[in-house]
Symmetry: D3
Subunit: 141 residues, 6 copies
């Protein structure tokens, strides 16, 4: 069984590789390479796989899940310029792919237990573009 909870944050980012030239960055990332940055209302769906606890009927106490998501995802990311304020994006390009991987890295130590495991992290940059990350062990291709 997989349970999924959604949270949201608003942030800005720039997509550029400092080792590439300006024209190369523009060709690759288009307007997203604009060095002033731009922003999104990011939507994150975090999924846990496990079995419901027989006492509570829940895979994980929803209040606890909400607290972990707020502390580990919303607080560090919300209303931030990711490249300047949220490591590792001072040195990693904050594409949707890399944001999903970083959210997984932040959540995994807090959500993997005997009864349930972190299953996936989905990040919507816009309603038309999203990434699902299942952890590095999963060969998702």
């Amino acid at each position: 069984m997989v349970i999924t909870r959604k949270v949201e944050f608003s942030a800005s980012h720039v997509c550029r590789n400092p080792r590439l030239s300006e024209p190369e960055n523009r060709k690759l990332f288009g307007m997203a390479a604009n060095p002033h940055g731009h922003g999104h209302n990011y939507v994150v769906e975090v999924s846990l796989a496990g079995d419901p606890d027989p006492v509570t009927g829940m895979v994980l106490d929803l209040k606890e899940l909400k607290e972990v998501l707020n502390r580990e995802v919303v607080e560090p990311y919300d209303h931030r310029f990711l490249n300047y304020e949220v490591p590792p994006f001072d040195r990693v390009i904050p594409t949707t792919e890399n944001i999903a991987r970083d959210i997984w890295r932040r959540l995994e130590p807090h959500l993997n237990r005997d009864r349930h495991k972190l299953h996936s992290v989905r990040v919507y940059e816009t309603p038309d573009l999203y990434v699902d990350f299942f952890g590095d062990e999963t060969c998702s291709a």
Copy 2:
């Protein structure tokens, strides 16, 4: 190939375990433990896996699928107080996890055939919280 159809129902429920004390229930379920109950517009997505019939081009006749979902899910659940009116929730806590499992149990006898199998049941309690159930045989963790 997997085909998914969405249905909705409005119901109320209480999340409490009668073997726990009032403070334990409040700590675990928060406001959802309020014994008067509260309610949701539940959204259910039922998915069948199979191959399209060569004559119809459909995995399952959509009218038939709609009839099964109305008869087995919408009619017994809609406009009900689950704990009092919809077994097994007189003795099972109607968390989203347990609702998904019960909907699977109700649908499986009517939807598994040679050509297609019930693949998953997704239940949204709110737009921000949902559960996917794949049947007990599936080790989804």
Copy 3:
């Protein structure tokens, strides 16, 4: 200029008039007359009309608006059985129309000021049914 903020709550209700017979209630309200009650994820959009403050560029400080909506609407309504726990619904049928009027009554003393007025309260019972209330002075017909 009109600024609108959305909040949500989950509640249950029964729609019956105690002065009508059971068949009359069933004929009028259908399944919504079920005395056990049923529930919804209600969505409320509160709109203020006014001009932005020249110092802040805002019609009303958004944090203040959020606090008023949480205190006056979400806290009293959320996770409640309206007929039993939220006056005046012990004596007024909690139709969407009456809920919108009650939310207006709760908010108006806190949101009408020199610079802005409460403009409207929209309540969605489901995504397919909603009511807009503009205050009793407005002849909306």
Copy 4:
């Protein structure tokens, strides 16, 4: 890692099998068998599985993905009567299942590379009905 991009098109179709009688078609497809056709705002979600390129941080250059989707899906399907204008639907019933399979067939030659593979094609006929296709090799049942 799986990245998904959404595109939309508006088209009309008829669901009938010319080898069946009129009553058989009506029984099977209902109103969708009406020979004049009817239409939908189709939503397509195309998913690629792969690892982000270390230089770009992206599984696939989003501009390139967008160009492929527009050229291979939106241009041939948008504002068309599928049965009359978009092969193979002159001889294949344009059910959602068959549309998903055809979109896969059109995209696969352009999206499978060393670093990433076409993972799935989801087609929504309406918000309440959608199909996921994973390619013929996948035993999704």
Copy 5:
């Protein structure tokens, strides 16, 4: 007070004026002039203005409103090619504007009463384009 109910139908249409040349039609309507037609999932929101009945707490019995909308809008429009099957679109171009006006014309005789009036008809052709019609007496400009 204004109460709004949403219904949906799927239909196809062609936007062309037979008194214009093919290039003029293409210039004016673009792909929508394709004579084979194309389709949409139309969403209609019908609003009534009035005061709640003191006995029922409702502006209009919701079951009655639903029956009127199904009989007058969904049944004649759903799964139809508007230009060929739904008068007046054999002689009136089925733009979103004209569809909204026709739905008003169909509903007004059934929804205007002492206690409430038809207030507006909103028609979404896609989620990105919609029209509000308030009846001919309203000078909405």
Copy 6:
């Protein structure tokens, strides 16, 4: 009759008044005062009031409306840091209220004609917060 078209852009902004102290800005705007900025997927709905042209059945040629919105709104705003790159936000705080007013100012010269007038500009900063602007002549309070 009012016709509405939706467009979207992604941008970042900072809400601070340079004449206020840092604590005053934090108190007033909260996290939105963070000088690095943060971002949103803004959604804009532009409404025109008028009567359909008898030849076309449209209030305004949709292709022309789309071109105006792209040229006057999407191109200058999309993927920009509003405070640094989009006048007048070098000197006006880019609250949702002020963005709605600026979009009105940009569109009005291009959309007011004999047959139709710019009716309103709605700007969503998030799905939970939006502003409607009707032009300065309208006394919307």
